[in-house]
Amino acid sequence: MLRESGDKPLLAKKTNMMRNTPATPVLVLLASMFVLSAGVARTEQPVPLSVTIKDHKFEPAEVHAPAGKPITFAVKNLGSIAAEFESDALHIEKVIPPGGEATVHVRPLEPGRYNFFDDFHRATQGFLIVP
């Protein structure tokens, strides 16, 4: 009885809410941004780099890449513990399970010395050097 009396205004409210759903403009906006960004995708061939993580060390601990070229960074975790390959400067954050391999993309870089590390084991540090 009580439920029935409360049913009607609730239903009316619901249709009202659906008409006013705020998700639609946000979705349209996000979708249009993706389309825009896809239009300017890179055509340049990326420079491949690879390092391994073993015994809490990067091997090699220093890698080199030319300036102004996109990079693909392959990281193999040969350790027995999961690693989180991370770099603030390179905008990288990726968990790599033990025995796993991950590839991350790095934008074309200005000359400099870029630090990367294992966020699960901070002492594991490496550098990407762009001359």
């Binding site: 609730l10 960004s37 027995s80 999961a82 991350v104 934008r107």
Partner: protein
């Protein structure tokens, strides 16, 4: 033991900040305890599932599965947070003033609670999956879970939960008449930060390449890696070296939420009196 303490604390602390805010936002809403606890439980379960399939997830979409997954759940959380704010702009005043029948307020309030519970689930799932992966790795390396690892993890969990509690207790000391403005702002900043973080994942996956140059570097003032940097990263999306696209999306998210809140806010005078 120390390693597991640090890692568990760091991840719980990040999820705890978000849970603390959600708890403060939902102060006084009936049934919020169940929703938030449910959100945490779902997040823990999800974290285990995600950790279990991390290897497989990474291999999807040419090795970008992890990034796409993170970007998607972050995007979903942004929608939920935005929706909550817009909903509160429309109904918050009525709820706070108790002008509606109590029963209806609970039904209406639970929709917004569900959105926030989903945000809690996502926060716990993201941070939790890292904890599970790390602890599992340590356990596997040591040939089984050691007492030290468990004790360290437990202390980390307790300390991290303390941060959650402090966030909540700090926020609820704000006088009620300002609470809505403060929490709305916090939620909007949280959403903008998550949107910018989703962009970082799409850039890492090479899906988004437009405007990907670094705009500034404030790592010499406050590094992302410091605890304060991490807290601000979680709360307002602080990044010491943001890309142009991250800044654009950050500003856009804030603008869209603000505009929608204005559009959907109903002046109290227009509301028909039914009682």
């Amino acid at each position: 033991m120390l390693a597991s303490l640090v890692i568990v604390f760091r991840e719980v602390f990040e999820a705890g900040l978000i849970i603390g805010i959600v708890m403060a936002v939902t102060t006084g809403v009936a049934g919020r305890g169940r929703w938030i606890a449910g959100g945490v439980a779902a997040g823990v379960f999800g974290a285990c599932v995600v950790a279990l399939f991390t290897g497989g997830l990474s291999q999807l979409f040419n090795g970008s599965g992890q990034e796409l997954f993170n970007a998607c759940i972050l995007g979903f959380a942004v929608l939920m947070l935005g929706w909550h704010n817009v909903w509160m702009a429309r109904h918050g005043r009525e709820l706070a003033a108790e002008m509606r029948a109590a029963g209806e307020a609970v039904v209406e309030g639970s929709k917004s609670l569900a959105a926030l519970a989903a945000v809690v689930t996502i926060a716990v799932l993201r941070e939790g999956s890292e904890v599970v992966l790390f602890l599992y790795g340590v356990a596997a390396a040591e040939g089984g879970a050691s007492i030290g690892m468990l004790v360290g993890g437990l202390i980390g969990l307790i300390l991290g939960s303390g941060v959650c509690l402090l966030t909540y207790l700090g926020l609820v000391t704000i006088p009620t008449r300002y609470l809505f403005a403060v929490t709305s702002t916090l939620i909007a900043l949280l959403a903008a930060g998550m949107a910018a973080q989703a962009i970082a994942f799409l850039e890492q996956a090479d899906i988004l390449t437009a405007f990907d140059q670094t705009v500034w570097d404030t790592s010499w003032i406050l590094s992302d890696a410091s605890y304060l940097g991490r807290a601000l990263h979680t709360l307002i999306g602080y990044v010491d070296q943001p890309t142009a696209m991250q800044l654009i999306v950050y500003a856009l998210t804030l603008a869209v939420i603000a505009v929608l809140m204005k559009l959907f806010a109903v002046p109290p005078a227009r509301r028909p009196r039914t009682a």
